[in-house]
């Protein structure tokens, strides 16, 4: 089983240290949530894991090798990356948008049957099959977020790294897309998400990594890591946790401690 890992990874952006000696490991077949307050370095860590940032020290490892040592096309095939609040600059239709996810696979002679099958499957998985011919500008925020997720899924990556993929969705679609992300992990891929919603993280994630000020506060299985103490320490909050009648864990911020 391959592992994606940060090894003593430090990152500086514009002269400002963003991550200090972060140690974290992510397992294939599981959903891991990166949690932490604004500016904790969640998005930066995700970008490093995707090979998009150059750490000043340490490295991001995919299996036995440094992510940044992979040829760009290999990396693009193995790691699917969904940036935060992604723009779509032209009014292409949804099928074309999702087809962009096949670019790392595309040979010189254009689309193959496998490309088309992957696009169809990604559209179906995100519930966007009915929107295939719709222009991106005519989608609602939630539809657009699902189409963008479908773009990454179409690449059938071993690793899916997504920066707040559920942020602009209503609760019903959050659950639906969340279930889809869990299905991706169940099929064997590793899923790493930046999440802001603690309850969503508790529901979706197998593992969590709690970040604060560019360092790891705690990491481990969600059930034992999302405790009132650790979450409180990470965010500077007093939180209460509990279990709903249907067995869902919930985490409610009560007051700030700082």
């Amino acid at each position: 089983m391959t592992v994606l890992a940060a090894q003593r990874l430090s990152l500086t952006l514009g002269g400002k240290p963003v991550l200090h000696a972060v140690e974290a490991a992510f397992a294939a077949g599981r959903v891991t949530a990166l949690l932490g307050p604004n500016g904790a370095g969640k998005s930066s860590l995700l970008a490093c894991l995707a090979g998009l940032q150059h750490p000043v020290a340490g490295r991001a490892m995919l299996g036995e090798g440094d992510v940044r040592a992979l040829p760009a096309q290999q990396r693009a095939r193995r790691i699917g990356f969904l940036p935060q609040a992604a723009d779509v600059h032209w009014n292409i239709d949804v099928a074309t948008l999702v087809g962009l996810g096949r670019l790392p696979w595309r040979g010189r002679w254009g689309e193959t049957d496998e490309d088309r099958a992957a696009v169809t499957q990604a559209l179906a998985a995100t519930g966007m099959a009915g929107f295939a011919r719709r222009g991106v500008e005519h989608l609602s925020g939630g539809e657009r977020a699902r189409a963008l997720l479908a773009r990454v899924l179409a690449g059938r990556p071993e690793w899916l790294l997504a920066d707040e993929p559920l942020a602009s969705l209503d609760p019903a679609h959050q659950l639906e897309v969340g279930a889809q992300l869990r299905a991706v992990a169940a099929a064997g891929s590793g899923v790493v998400l930046v999440v802001h919603d603690l309850n969503l993280a508790a529901r979706l994630a197998d593992d969590v990594v709690l970040l604060r000020d560019g360092g790891v506060i705690a990491a481990g299985p969600a059930a034992t890591t999302l405790t009132a103490t650790l979450v409180g320490e990470t965010y500077g909050l007093t939180v209460e946790t509990g279990i709903t009648a249907s067995g869902q864990r919930y985490i409610v911020p009560v007051a700030t401690t700082s």
Binding site: A76, A86, I92, T96, L103
Partner: protein, 320 residues
């Protein structure tokens, strides 16, 4: 090739035939093979002029499409945002110092000027795709190169050099010879070939720079290809025909809806559409009932200005 491209190609062939026949003297197309005295009009005047119109139009059209795709900005145009002015300044330097006697020096200077301004635009606004940043940078570059050109004109050693510069700046394809074709066409073709290869990266850039990099696009290589391709196509076009604006704005905008708004799919139709537009426009200026021939650059501005205005009005809700 798509159906759109075939239609445009048919249009280009018709326009080229018209361009060979049309002018102060109408020459039937069969005149050029026979020992007809009019064949010299076609072979020595109309044919090089038509080839230049096709090449310059294709170069400007594909440059506009690539620039719009690269900057993710539907208002980008090499003529409006400094690249043509940069090329013109380079060429004016060559004229000013009298370097134009060497056939390749003027295009060389124009290429350098176009490359410098395109590089400045790409460095300032290429990474972010910000509309405001790009517009301001383009405005400032246009005004800097424009004032430097004006300086060169005002300091011209003789009135003859000054008038030579001014006439040339206005943009035209009048009296171009096979020599101009031999210099310009290979350079423009090389530029088009470079830009045609950027299609896949431009598609990926639709999702922003970070997503494009995650899909394996090398932003530095793309930037180099765009700068070099546009410098070749626009620099050589300006060297051959002076400043002709708006082709790169109008054509990609018109073909984009038929190409599904996909940047890579607009490149070839924009080249064909640019060739078609400029060849037709060049026929129109030849046939216009004016005392001296209407300048092609001015005619395109008169057509393009209102079009730009229409674009702004139709986009104002999105831009605001």
């Amino acid at each position: 090739m798509t159906r759109l491209s075939w239609w445009l190609l048919a249009g280009v062939l018709l326009a080229a035939a018209l361009s060979l026949a049309a002018g102060k003297v109408w020459v039937p197309l069969d005149a050029w093979t026979a020992a007809d005295p009019r064949s010299i009009i076609i072979v020595e005047l109309r044919l090089p002029r038509t080839i230049l119109a096709l090449a310059v139009g294709a170069g400007l059209g594909v440059s506009g499409a690539a620039m719009q795709g690269y900057l993710r900005n539907p208002l980008a145009d090499p003529g409006l945002f400094g690249v043509s002015s940069g090329a013109a300044f380079g060429a004016v330097c060559a004229l000013y110092f009298g370097y134009a006697v060497q056939a390749w020096l003027l295009p060389g200077f124009a290429l350098a000027g176009a490359a410098a301004t395109m590089a400045a635009l790409a460095l300032i606004a290429g990474r972010s795709g910000s509309l405001i940043l790009f517009t301001l940078a383009g405005m400032i570059l246009t005004s800097i190169t424009g004032s430097l050109t004006a300086l060169a004109i005002s300091l011209a050693p003789t009135p003859f050099v000054a008038s030579e510069i001014v006439t040339w700046l206005m943009g035209a394809l009048t009296d171009r010879s096979w020599d101009d074709v031999r210099v310009a066409v290979p350079l423009i073709a090389a530029g088009i070939a470079l830009l045609a290869r950027t299609g896949r990266s431009l598609d990926a850039l639709t999702l922003g720079e970070q997503a494009a990099r995650s899909m394996g696009v090398d932003p530095r290589r793309l930037q180099l290809a765009v700068i070099a391709g546009i410098a070749l196509a626009v620099g050589a076009s300006v060297a051959a025909a002076g400043i002709i604006g708006f082709v790169g704005l109008i054509v990609p905008h018109l073909v984009r809806p038929f190409a599904g708004h996909r940047p890579s799919a607009t490149l070839l139709p924009s080249a064909l559409g640019g060739a078609l537009l400029l060849t037709v426009a060049d026929c129109v200026v030849r046939l216009a009932p004016t005392v001296s021939e209407l300048r092609l650059g001015i005619a395109m501005s008169m057509l393009g200005g209102p079009f730009f205005f229409y674009l702004l009005v139709s986009m104002r809700r999105r831009l605001a």
